[in-house]
Assembly symmetry: C2
Homo-oligomer: 407 residues x 2
Amino acid sequence: MPFDYCDVLRADLPGPAGRWSGFPAHNFVGGHMDADHVPVEDLIAALTNALQREGKNLATYNLRTGPLGYRPLREFIAGALKARAAMAVDPDEILITSGSLQSMDLVNQMMLSPGDTVVLEQATYGGAITRLQARGAHPVGVALDEDGMRMDALEETLTRLAGEGRTPKFIYTIPTVQNPTGTVMPVARRERMLALADRFGVAIFEDDCYADLLWEGERPPAIYALDDGRRVLYCGSFSKSIAPALRLGYVVADWGGLSRLVALKTDAGTGALEQLALADYCAPHFDDHVSRATASLKRKHDVMVEALIAEFGTAAEFAPAKGGIFLWIKLPEGVDTGKLAAAAGAEGISLNPGAEWTVDGDDHRHWMRLCFGHPTPEEIVEGVAKLARICHREFGVPTTGGNLLRG
Amino acid sequence: MPFDYCDVLRADLPGPAGRWSGFPAHNFVGGHMDADHVPVEDLIAALTNALQREGKNLATYNLRTGPLGYRPLREFIAGALKARAAMAVDPDEILITSGSLQSMDLVNQMMLSPGDTVVLEQATYGGAITRLQARGAHPVGVALDEDGMRMDALEETLTRLAGEGRTPKFIYTIPTVQNPTGTVMPVARRERMLALADRFGVAIFEDDCYADLLWEGERPPAIYALDDGRRVLYCGSFSKSIAPALRLGYVVADWGGLSRLVALKTDAGTGALEQLALADYCAPHFDDHVSRATASLKRKHDVMVEALIAEFGTAAEFAPAKGGIFLWIKLPEGVDTGKLAAAAGAEGISLNPGAEWTVDGDDHRHWMRLCFGHPTPEEIVEGVAKLARICHREFGVPTTGGNLLRG
């Protein structure tokens, strides 16, 4: 037998990926967006302009503007954060990353050793949970309500952990358009979180990836903006506001943190074409584009809300989202959304089972996340109706829906 | 005192990065290329074309073609590897990465646990050594000659390690246009390496990043092409052949390995604009472009060779490179190139000290690597002359040069 490297892989490797088998007909998962939102002609114009001006600098890593990333893009981001999130940030306090997932990996690498504890919203981005687990850290969930993470629950959790001799490294929070609940944390809670961070000696990692897609109420100042010290690391993204296939995000931190993150970012820089395209596109177009995209998402949100009411009736409990691309839905207790996802997947519908989107997975087996960013309104109506029929077949609920009594 | 997250960073973090201070006047380090090589107008045309056709797919991660990367680009790469490196590879055996440094990180993650051993050329890419050390692996160097890694030395090393009960996880090799020696490993040695890999149960990680820039002799089949089993992982890059600021590389492996690498690539895909640009640019232009770029590099290589002979005389010993962007130069034993780099850096000249580019750093304190990819011929002549004067001032050598007797 010849030698085979697959026999000597690292012992604690995660399982292999499956083969790619294409998109389902009704894709209700992931951060995919609406094809009609992509500003194709304006991106071509921006790239053409930027390359005519800067194309020769592609010959040098980082376009000759250093490892933080293309400076005009960092200048745009600093201005946008000021206008949108009340953040006073110097362009040299921004590190461009290859998407917010790299931001998350870098912050985790900077802060965490195996065995560390991280506090986060009980229902949260599934990838945040799996990343913590992959580093050997222990995620601890904190209850949410219609205003995001509850500060009484956070205080209780930090007190309990302190009693056990555990100081979490940081609180990971998505305060504005929370994933998956679509809630927005009011300013008073943000200030209270900063006070708790001080009292318990815990940092805050603020993930603002969806914040640009808010349609209800005023966007509050970022927690970062309310920090007068060095308690908060902040990350943002263009995946949701412009297009997810452009891998472009950023971390905001002062040089104390940023100098460590730059040392950990060993990829010789983020893609230059994405940076050039966004720098030239965003300066004149970002605000208008985001307004249009958000209005379009709100319409699709409303279509999904109506479809859920029509097809699931009282079997689906959920609050409307204040922005973003998803709804967080409670089904009757007997429904196992992991099994529902498998059955629906076989018929071309994808969804996120609640157990994968919560820290205490077992308590949320009857919840699911449905995304409406990618499908058309017609696909939403059709997919939700089909999902209701599959759910009824598998679990006997919903018993009514689509103007029919299901038996 | 308010809480400060910099007080609770991970204990074993690498040191902080320094502030970016711009490029030196004479930049003889790094993989930077010649600004005149960048095909700006053709890249604009390719991007315009690709975006008009595929722009709407930016709304979906991975342009709807799955986590291996944009399929037309993988098809181009498969064709190029067939024509250039005699590799018979299916597009589904190629994973697009955000540059070859990500390829390297992924393969290291897949294979290595702390304490593992990796065998590599004694003089090699400095970043490969530091990455292994950062993972807690032990690099072991093998002697090189004018045909790359010596197989008698490899056999000796593997035998010695086996005697100590150590089986290296893999042999990391740059067989074609080796970094920093610019050598090319003949086919017989490649076949012998495969036999040794079998005999000792060690994988091979073949880094072919510079192989497209060969100007002397025929390019031999890749080691991957000679493997009839699963002994070799292969990586390549567009950083050197097109432009380094485009972060785009690839790993070639069969699905046994690729399925593990895909599971480890947690960045939700590599930048779409880079992939679209290269897919549309490379299909019609790659061969011509690489021929022109290689011819230009050969001219700059010759300029640097002449400048070294003129300015350093017999104090600089080196073999001409067979391709690529660097020369590997031995200075008299009394010269410490670490100190030379510091003195030259203060006067706007950067170079790679030998100790950072070798596994047994101390034995190579009087060696240095000089890159000629980025500077113009005039900058090369001027920079080498200036470097010789600084070297004479600091170490008393070279004593002759520039048609002057130095005192």
